[in-house]
């Protein structure tokens, strides 16, 4: 059988640049004239940025207090001892006294911090029903299976809001009192509890179910609160705009933290006389100690802080940038030395060939 020219054409591969490996290509050359300036510039930029970040972070004032109540550490050890081994722990109040010698520049933010609390545990993190929390009436009385064992109450009613995250809502409350003059009366400092959560959270993600006859309580009829809650969800706050699923504290708590030690915003202090900050004087924080953390070795802290463009006090970023910048410059110098030493050698090789 002869192999005719026409038959060959049918089997011939395409004579394109792609199939015949003739595509143009660019081989990037890591030459010294590109790499060394790159390293030095990056190093200098990082060092500059690092210094700026570090000083910006250093300018932030922070005041914290561990009120877990370990023996002898604070006033709240009485409450801690009382609550030992009893669930739910009995209501108890304690106080933290501190004084400021100079103005604490504002606006001041009040956080509570928990440690060894694994909100990032997988089983815990899926134990919620976002459809129910978004206010869908159909989902309100059919909580998702992931919420088990906090899906239905002991009497068989659906729990709203269901799940372990909602059940473990942080329920300590704080109030701040300021004593202008020594031995004078304590005046309450107004705490702005509005807008402490993300806007998208309390406007999109969390919505109350439609009101029934204008009443939120009726909307939640036929559901039960989570086992650990003293009050149902529609009574979380006296303010009708801040109750139900859109309660700010609830929304803040439901945004689970990434790490076992985390802080969540409690209030802003920016109203009235305190808009410029906390003036000097003695202060007292009244804490209603409800939340039990000692059983798992956790700690509760109260933190006053102010904020900059990069958030709270965070020296890590500044230090990291400084370190990386310094390393870049160091490595750049090492590469320069290597280049100078071996460049002569390479040039000789080139001339020889």
């Amino acid at each position: 059988m002869t192999w005719s020219a026409t038959a060959r054409g049918a089997h011939q591969p395409d004579n394109t640049a792609f199939t015949q490996q003739r595509l143009p290509a660019w081989q990037p050359l890591l030459s010294a004239s590109i790499t060394l300036p790159l390293f030095f510039c990056a190093g200098l930029a990082f060092i500059g940025l690092g210094l700026g970040l570090y000083y910006s972070s250093n300018g932030i004032v922070e005041l914290e207090h561990d009120y877990t109540g370990d023996a002898g550490s604070s006033n709240c050890s009485v409450c801690a001892a009382e609550g030992q081994g009893r669930a739910p722990p009995p209501p108890c109040s304690c106080a933290w006294y501190f004084s400021l010698h100079e103005l604490f520049p504002g606006p001041v933010y009040l956080y509570y911090e928990l440690s060894s609390f694994y909100q990032n545990n997988r089983r815990y993190g899926v134990s919620r029903d976002d459809a129910q929390l978004s206010g869908l009436p159909s989902a309100l009385r059919q909580p998702a299976n992931e919420c088990a064992p906090y899906q239905r109450s002991a009497t068989g009613l659906p729990i709203a809001p269901c799940g372990a995250i909602a059940n473990s809502l942080f329920n300590d409350t704080f109030s701040l009192w300021h004593q202008h003059q020594p031995a004078g009366p304590y005046v309450e400092v107004p705490l702005d509890r509005a807008a402490i959560a993300w806007w998208t959270d309390y406007h999109v993600k969390f919505r109350n179910p439609p009101l029934v006859n204008g009443s939120l309580a009726l909307a939640f009829r036929g559901t039960a609160p989570p086992p650990n809650w003293p009050r149902p969800v529609y009574e979380l706050s006296a303010d009708p705009n801040n109750t139900g699923f859109v309660n700010q504290d609830f929304v803040v708590w439901m945004r689970t933290a990434a790490l076992p030690t985390f802080r969540k915003l409690y209030a802003r202090i920016r109203q009235g006389d305190y808009s410029a900050g906390l003036p000097r004087g003695a202060y007292r924080v009244n804490i209603s100690y409800n939340y039990p953390v000692r059983a798992f070795g956790g700690h509760k802290l109260l933190i006053f802080s102010n904020i900059s463009w990069m958030g709270g006090k965070n020296p890590f970023l500044g230090i990291a940038y400084l370190v990386v910048g310094a390393l870049c410059i160091l490595v750049g110098f090492a590469m320069l030395v290597v280049y100078i030493r071996y460049q002569d050698q390479t040039d000789d090789d080139d001339d020889d060939e």
């Binding site: 059988m1 002869t2 192999w3 490996q21 595509l23 290509a25 081989q27 050359l29 890591l30 010294a32 790499t35 790159l38 390293f39 990056a42 990082f46 933010y109 694994y118 909100q119 990032n120 545990n121 997988r122 815990y124 993190g125 976002d130 459809a131 929390l133 978004s134 869908l136 989902a139 998702a144 402490i196 993300w198 806007w199 998208t200 999109v204 689970t256 933290a257 990434a258 790490l259 076992p260 030690t261 985390f262 802080r263 915003l265 904020i307 463009w309 990069m310 958030g311 709270g312 965070n314 970023l317 990291a320 940038y321 990386v324 870049c328 490595v331 590469m335 071996y342 390479t346 080139d350």
Partner: protein, 523 residues
């Protein structure tokens, strides 16, 4: 009286000697297995420069019995070993262990060639002698097997495959090459005059032998390079991606919580990291194609398995682990005490997930990533499927924070800079051939490699009879009776000098290498 003469022209294709020379420089050993008779095969060998006049010796093995073949092989080995002036005399036994042979024969000085006949090959391929034959043949620069049956062609290929850790390529054009093509690792068929049986049985086929050099040095080399880079890249990205979960385990109570959004995990391999990896696996070139052909030495890394072996694998795993450490611990360090610039929470799980996912240094087409990210975190999808799209609001909230972008920038730079530094240092201290070539691409093109291929203006290679052949025999009249008239007419032409020179050559030449060509021509 001489009625006429017939000549059979079996032209070599264009470019064959150059191809063979180039492939020899690329450290590829070339053996010829042909069904032609010995003289033809030897002439072809000279014609395509496999055998040269400079060769120290060309061994001919034409024994008819096992003993004769063994003896001839032994003599050949002796001569090769003697040339190295190995002083220690060691006696040859009937069976020699391969290791001893290899160590001696691997470094012979001088160039040798082996020509072996089909009937001798049948003896040499027997189980007790095949190793000996193989070692002797591998010590030679060129091996020509003539009068080989198709089965023996396959057996020779099988022999090389079995004992030598080498990849074999068989190229042929006829039906008698099919078994050899199928046996070899790579079979190449030449479509041409002899039909398409070879083409049908082969892995690759083309029409001219010279295309083999492009197949190997350009397509094959780049294919190996791309495959190795692709594999390394694939392992690296998946290792880095997965090890982040390992580190996160220490901080989430080992509860198998994922660091990333579920959709990021789903789309990671398919959408986000597929395009760059595929692009590299399809288009990557380390040197331009002309350079690949000019410098056959570039072929070596593939032969020595330098680009993807255990060491390279562990290096890319180590890189993956290093990247995962940075990818997790830098955001961890930042988020340990971070808040947003309006004081609200930044260190929540979903923001952490978005930050770590966005930190992936240049592993994803950014536009695609951000498009999908914002879509997944949009209100619309959340309204439709609240439980599936829980990350609502995350993209715009998290990515509006300067802290997040600073973290991402830091992670990217710290992942990339060491690699750049290593590459630069390696280029300065220990550049390999491809690096040097890229650096010198402005220099003159004409290097010594070009000189090898004398791109002749000849359009075809004729196999000239390298020995005198039978002309003299014919003219002597021993085979046929010539009338003096015809003879005088013949000698009147200028070819009389040709006969004279032949006569002179015969008396001058040393012992003829072939033992059997003086037999009268039969048939």
């Amino acid at each position: 009286m001489l009625l006429g003469a017939t000549a059979i022209e079996d032209k070599l294709q264009q470019g064959v000697p150059e191809t063979i020379a180039l492939l020899t420089l690329a450290n590829i050993k070339i053996w010829v297995l042909t069904g032609d008779k010995q003289e033809t095969a030897v002439n072809i060998g000279y014609s395509c420069k496999m055998l040269t006049d400079d060769m120290t010796e060309v061994f001919i093995v034409t024994g008819h019995t096992v003993l004769e073949v063994r003896e001839e092989l032994r003599k050949a080995r002796e001569k090769m070993v003697d040339s190295r002036t190995v002083g220690n005399g060691f006696t040859y036994q009937e069976k020699l262990s391969s290791s001893k042979l290899t160590s001696v024969l691997e470094a012979v000085a001088g160039e040798y060639a082996l020509v072996i006949n089909g009937h001798s090959l049948a003896h040499a391929l027997e189980a007790d002698m095949e190793l000996e034959f193989l070692e002797t043949a591998c010590a030679c620069k060129a091996v020509i097997c003539c009068r080989v049956t198709p089965l023996q062609k396959a057996q020779v290929v099988e022999l090389v495959k079995k004992y030598k850790k080498a990849v074999t390529l068989a190229i042929g054009d006829g039906a008698n090459d099919v078994s050899m093509i199928k046996t070899a690792h790579i079979g190449v068929g030449i479509s041409g005059q002899e039909g398409i049986q070879a083409v049908l049985a082969s892995d690759y086929s083309f029409s001219q032998f010279k295309f083999l050099q492009r197949l190997l040095l350009v397509h094959g080399r780049w294919s190996y390079l791309r495959m190795c880079k692709f594999l390394c890249y694939f392992f690296y990205k998946n290792f880095a991606f997965t090890m982040v979960h390992f580190w996160f385990g220490f901080f989430c109570g080992f509860s198998a919580q994922t660091v990333y959004d579920q959709y990021f995990i789903t789309l990671y391999n398919i959408v986000y990291t597929s395009l760059p990896v595929l692009a590299m696996g399809v288009f990557d070139q380390d040197v331009p194609e002309q350079r690949s052909m000019e410098y056959p030495k570039l072929y070596e890394p593939g032969q020595l398995n330098l680009l993807f072996n255990k060491r390279e694998f562990f290096i890319c795993i180590a890189q993956g682990i290093y990247t995962s450490v940075l990818m997790f611990f830098i955001p961890y360090g930042v988020f340990a005490e971070a808040t947003r610039d309006d004081g609200t929470q930044l260190a929540d799980y979903q923001s952490f997930a978005v930050t770590v996912a966005t930190s992936w240094p240049s592993l994803q087409p950014l536009a695609v990533y951000f498009a999908i990210l914002f879509a997944m975190h949009s209100n619309g999808l959340f309204d439709m499927f609240p439980n599936q799209f829980r990350f609502v609001g995350n993209a715009q909230n998290t990515l509006a924070q300067p802290t997040v972008w600073l973290t991402i920038a830091l992670t990217t730079v710290v992942c990339v800079m060491p690699v750049v530094a290593f590459r630069f240092l390696r280029l300065s201290l220990k550049p390999d051939l491809s690096d040097t070539l890229v650096r010198k691409k402005q220099k003159a093109q004409h290097r010594c490699m070009r000189r090898v291929g004398r791109t002749g203006s000849r359009r075809s290679g004729y196999a000239f009879s390298h020995q005198e052949g039978f002309g003299e025999l014919i003219m002597s009249g021993k085979n046929m009776r010539l009338s003096s008239l015809a003879l005088s007419g013949f000698t009147a032409r200028s070819s009389s000098s040709w006969i004279e020179s032949l006569r002179r050559k015969k008396s001058d030449s040393a012992s003829s290498p072939s033992g059997g060509t003086d037999k009268p021509l039969k048939g």
